[in-house]
Symmetry: C2
Subunit: 281 residues, 2 copies
């Protein structure tokens, strides 16, 4: 059975891309005209997927944006998943993290009811809380390590003692997940914000073989190139660099799909040029 | 405007109760006959609420169980909320924890779309990620501190250095939330598992004025009495002791509502007797 990691690598190689597009629907920002149809969520996402499915390694709907739209959001999310080609992995940005039978129910919701290939998870509860997700052995678990927000240091940067060594909490999380992954079939990955490049570099060194999902790339900033350069593994793979708004809301007219494609192409070209041996140095 | 804390205290005093009933719907366990109706989620929960609304301080649906039922689950959750009397606070056990615009969307989903009075949140991302929830100043935030699962020590028990002192991470979380709450209008509380009584005692000492949601009470164990004794504040209030399955699945026949009421009553009586000055010593 092919798992999340294999599906990710296959899509990434086929499309020569480390770009993940975040499908964060916002009724205030979709192109004019779309909102009038009751199926606007699916129509918008389907338009993005049609324009970009040869340019990405993954798609990532953030569940919060769908939950905020109530029942229409959930129905739109279900239909969006059906519209994505099966050979492109789809990551639920759900940041779930609960225990026991509750985690079982979340895993069932995300992997069976909705059919995602992977989900983001938060580690605070401890790894036994994440076990029910692991039981779906063809699915991926991307665990928050160092998040992109300004306040991520509140707890993640606290100095902890772990196996007799002093390190920031996020490093202990990374090492624990690497170990845990070693005992399993390679289902785990980490989430590290592009806003913390030196931490991204450290975490890649601690987890040389894990997929790293990298959110927080600013539309205009240098962070895109850094995310690729510091986040990819030694073969220039296994970074999943997420870009949402600057691509999905690139167009405001009737030709919005062309604008989305053009921006996705520009983004993926910049990313390709950032990899060692690929750019102009 | 009356907030979550006031609503909680009012319900708790009116019903002389620290009991929160967890509405964790499971199609495999609901009484026979109910499942045949398409509105079974609402019917089951409404039956519980009718049988117990004079015995509780709060209700707590765990969102995972509804998400696992797909669209029917979300519709059932919406209708369940409408069936709960407005003077009893309803806590979303959602354990959300994300950043920026995503947290805004989760807060909108939970507080506006669904209309919960409070939600559980996970602190790993840092407190700025929880800010969007605080903006709803009549709603409560219950932040995971020490969870009830066997593996909760993986990260929560790591020794951290915080303000020059060494302490387990969960204590740093408790102190940080107490400070944060001090700057606000008293919207915050903590979540501490009944399975860790000595930690519950420590955390109550660190947070004398905060509501503490206490899950993990075993149906037959001594933990119910301990949860009340160690979790309540000095006035015997502000503990929200959650019990789910042993109450909501107490009955298997057509008289299931009577069985639910009887078990809830037994539970709340045991809790009343556990408070200092109320029991037989």
């Amino acid at each position: 059975m092919s798992g999340f990691r294999e599906k990710l690598l296959a899509a990434s190689r086929r499309n020569d891309s480390l770009l993940c597009i975040g499908l964060d629907v916002d009724p205030r920002r979709v192109p004019p005209g779309l909102l009038e149809s009751p199926g606007w969520i699916e129509a918008f996402n389907r338009g993005i997927v049609e324009a970009t499915s040869d340019l990405v390694c993954a798609y990532k709907p953030n569940l919060a944006f769908y939950e905020a739209l109530g029942l229409d959001g959930w129905e739109g999310l279900r239909r969006t998943l059906a519209a994505i080609p099966r050979d492109i992995p789809v990551i639920a940005d759900a940041k779930r993290g609960d225990i026991g039978s509750t985690s079982e129910a979340y895993a069932r919701a995300l992997f069976e009811v909705l059919g995602f290939d992977a989900t983001t998870l938060t580690p605070y509860v401890g790894l036994d809380g994440l076990e029910p997700f692991l039981r779906y052995d063809d699915r991926g678990l991307l665990i928050l390590c160092k998040t992109s927000n300004p306040g991520s240091g509140d707890f993640q940067d606290l100095a902890v003692e772990w196996r007799g060594q002093r390190m920031p909490l996020y490093q202990a999380v990374a090492q624990r997940v690497v170990e845990w992954n070693g005992h399993r079939s390679g289902q785990c990955g980490l989430v590290v914000g592009a806003t913390y490049p030196s931490q991204l570099k450290e975490i890649r060194a601690l987890a040389p073989d894990l997929p790293i999902l990298i959110p927080g790339v600013g539309a205009q900033s240098r962070s895109l190139e850094e995310a690729v350069r510091l986040g990819a593994d030694q073969r220039g793979e296994l970074a999943i660099v997420n870009v949402s708004r600057s691509i999905i809301y690139a167009g405001g007219g009737t030709d919005w799909q062309q604008a989305v494609r053009a921006e996705a192409l520009r983004t993926v070209e910049r990313m390709r040029l950032s990899l060692p041996g690929r750019g102009a140095s």
